[in-house]
């Protein structure tokens, strides 16, 4: 990229240097300890205020609410369809579908199963893939860097915002599913996979744990999206690439010939959240999943950081 500076013409060259110089000074200052500005008492405080403004921006966007609305439609469609068409024969369709008429609380879990392969990765792809590339394409990235915030810090804040969206998206599906199930079907003690029954309260707690599991499952994909987002200034490119990565990983995971690769795929434990619906709950997959996703966060976080700090910000 640095060699291309000369070819960019006077404007590009100018913006490049004006965008990078403040970043340099801010990094030097933060390395020396708290800067002179009263508005930024500590590194952590800086990150928090930046995160707060980032979250405000994210959750004020109409696009974010449109995506959450689309996700909320999944459990609503499932519940209404079953309400109108009646019970489905046991064993057909996604798991738990045949339990909804007995217990409406299962709408949320069924909707999660439907949403995990495509819809959730798609929305994560939009948010994570847009994180850096979107700012670059709007020409706002250099202003973010002019503000006293290091590049790494901006990257961390962007990632945390994407993670917050993962949690919001998953909770939307589970909570809307539970509410619509509550409204349309009888509810009662939740029958777990082991054939034991737990109270409605514990059932809801388990569904919340499933939401947490699925959120953790999506963190690796968010890191990949963040990295892809630093590669380009065309947000659509990194959004599509992120969604495609998720689909490709699931296809690879379905091919028995590639069994050696399966433990390394970030989609490996995506559907194992049902381990939380056993009695006693099996936590192995939760732990394995967390370790795997942490590995993806470290690897792709470092890749994104390496790419972003060496990148010439031209817009």
């Amino acid at each position: 990229m640095s060699s291309s500076e000369g070819e960019r013409g006077p404007e590009g060259l100018e913006t490049s240097s004006s965008a990078t110089r403040p970043a340099v000074s801010s990094a030097t200052r933060s390395a020396d300890g708290p800067g002179p500005q009263a508005a930024r008492p500590s590194k952590l405080g800086g990150i928090l205020s930046l995160l707060a403004s980032e979250l405000r921006t994210l959750f004020r966007r109409r696009r974010t609410w449109a995506m959450l609305g689309a996700l909320a439609l999944i459990p609503i469609l499932i519940a209404v369809a079953i309400r109108i068409a009646g019970d489905s024969p046991s064993g057909r369709g996604p798991a738990f579908l045949d339990r909804i008429t007995q217990n409406g609380l299962f709408v949320g879990v069924t909707a999660i199963i439907v949403a995990i392969p495509l819809f959730l990765p798609l929305t994560i792809g939009v948010v994570a893939g847009d994180s850096i590339a979107g700012e670059a394409s709007h020409g706002t990235l250099r202003y973010l860097l002019i503000a006293p915030a290091g590049r790494i810090r901006l990257l961390v804040v962007k990632y945390l915002a994407a993670a917050a969206f993962c949690a919001a998206a998953t909770l939307t599906v589970v909570v809307v599913g539970t509410l619509i199930g509550w409204a349309l079907f009888p509810i009662g003690p939740v029958t777990l996979l082991s054939g034991t029954e737990v109270s409605v309260g514990e059932g809801l707690l388990r569904f919340l744990m499933i939401a947490a599991y699925v959120t953790v499952s999506l963190l690796g994909l968010s890191a990949i999206g963040l990295f892809l987002s630093t590669l380009t200034t065309v947000p659509v490119g990194s959004m599509a690439a992120t969604a495609i990565v998720a689909v490709v990983a699931q296809i690879l995971g379905a091919l028995p010939q590639l069994e050696w690769l399966h433990p390394w795929l970030f989609t490996r434990y995506w559907l194992d959240f049902a381990d939380l619906l056993r009695e006693p709950p099996v936590w192995d997959s939760f732990a394995d999943n967390a370790v795997l996703q942490a590995g993806y966060i470290v690897v792709f976080g470092l890749l994104a950081a390496a790419r972003f700090v060496t990148k010439d910000v031209l817009s």
């Binding site: 990094a27 064993g91 057909r92 798991a95 790494i152 082991s194 054939g195 099996v282 470092l302």
Partner: protein, 403 residues
């Protein structure tokens, strides 16, 4: 963070963590388990001592995770399974579903949890988004399938008097022992002597040895290796890992001749010997479950005595001969099923689908169709007989042409 317009070498330096960390992770994943394995060194035992040690194991409580993997070289049957499962869920043919279950049990990998305390046991097969459970206790057993939402209750008849039966049997055994000792004019061999004999007999056909110590499920374990000497069998090696502390078998695997990876293996991935919580064994079928009651017939003491009387006088010979014939012996034995027994399983509407599936997973050979795996061959002859054994297809064909 800082100067982005630095020279190419500075830029390269910034990529170092992004490259180094994945390498470190990969190295850690590969090297750490190898080191863990290398460190195991248990006191040396002969195969006989190891078998005695395992037999003397008195562990009655454990909980752990079992993993079963199979690389039998069968084609992937998931597509076929889908076809089979669809009609059978309509309630038409349970035989299709049974065959489907059986195939999935053999051909796919499973993870299961096992809980055992003194009087209860539970097997929990962890399927993706589903679960199958067996809860066994003194009062009977529950078999639960979450995807079918069906439970089967297996019980003994209420009037079964197991204690009296056990006493009667024990008395019979003592009497038989006394008769035998009188005939032989000497005391019957001790268990140790019998183990010697068994090992000696096994030694003719099988090479029994103690392999390298290793770590299984986080425990130091001995390895008992059985290698068939019979050149006709497909089995190359059977390996059993035995806990070095208390003699509990932790893993078993069967490797086909010439293969490097086991064709079939069952192993604990973690195990603990404390008694599991009692709530683990509790089961009452939830609402909306299809419950099937099944009573296992248990003979009373009087019936047992009557059978023995019949057996002594030879009156019980009108029982139909078992439709199973065994050709050969040892590792290269071939089992033959008569047409009646072989066709017993798939009946009714599911029969056509089952035979379609058989066509898909078998290949035509002279005189029938062959299901070939790395460990076991099964020959379905055109006249309806079935031959199975851990031997080559040629041996099966030879056994089939004997008659």
């Amino acid at each position: 963070m800082s100067v982005p317009s630095a020279g190419p070498s500075r830029k390269a330096v910034r990529w170092i963590p992004a490259v180094a960390v994945p390498i470190a992770i990969a190295v850690g994943v590969v090297v750490v388990p190898m080191q863990a394995n290398a460190a195991v060194d248990l006191p040396d035992l002969t195969p006989k001592q190891l078998l005695e040690f395992a037999a003397a194991s008195d562990v009655t409580t454990l909980s752990g995770t079992i993993e079963q993997t199979s690389e039998l070289g069968l084609p992937d049957l998931s597509a076929l399974k889908g076809d089979l499962a669809a009609p059978s869920t309509g309630g038409a043919g349970s035989a299709g579903a049974g065959l489907d279950d059986l195939l999935s049990l053999i051909t796919t990998d499973h993870t299961a949890k096992v809980y055992v305390d003194g009087s209860n046991a539970r097997l929990q097969v962890l399927d993706r988004l589903a679960e199958r459970d067996v809860y066994a206790s003194a009062s009977g057993a529950w078999i639960y399938d979450s995807s079918a939402q069906a439970a089967t209750h297996v019980v003994l008849p209420p009037d079964a008097d197991l204690d009296a039966l056990a006493t009667a049997m024990q008395g019979e055994a003592d009497a038989a022992k006394a008769r035998l000792e009188a005939e032989l004019g000497a005391a019957l061999p001790t268990p140790e002597a019998m183990l010697d004999q068994a090992l000696a007999r096994l030694g003719d056909s099988t090479d029994v040895s103690v392999g390298t110590d290793s770590r299984v499920a986080g425990r130091d374990a001995y390895e008992l290796v059985l290698e068939p000497g019979d050149p006709d069998t497909l089995v190359g090696e059977v390996s059993i890992a035995i806990d070095g502390e208390n003699g509990v078998p932790l893993a078993a695997s069967v490797t086909a001749r010439g293969a490097s990876e086991p064709a079939f293996s069952v192993a604990f991935t973690d195990i603990g010997y404390t008694a599991p919580d009692a709530s683990v064994f509790a089961f009452t079928p939830p609402e909306g479950t299809d419950v099937t009651e099944q009573v296992i017939p248990v003979p009373t003491v009087a019936e047992l005595e009557q059978w023995q009387a019949e057996g002594a006088t030879g009156a019980a010979t009108d029982h139909p001969a078992p439709p199973v014939t065994v050709h050969g012996e040892g590792w290269s034995a071939v089992v033959e099923l008569e047409p009646a027994a072989a066709q017993g399983a798939p009946t009714g509407g599911a029969g056509a689908e089952a035979s379609a599936m058989l066509d898909a997973i078998t290949q035509p050979v002279a005189g029938g169709r062959l299901l070939s795996t790395s460990l076991v061959n099964v020959l379905f002859t055109d006249d309806g007989r079935v031959f199975a054994g851990a031997v080559s297809a040629d041996r099966l064909a030879a056994a089939a042409s004997e008659r």
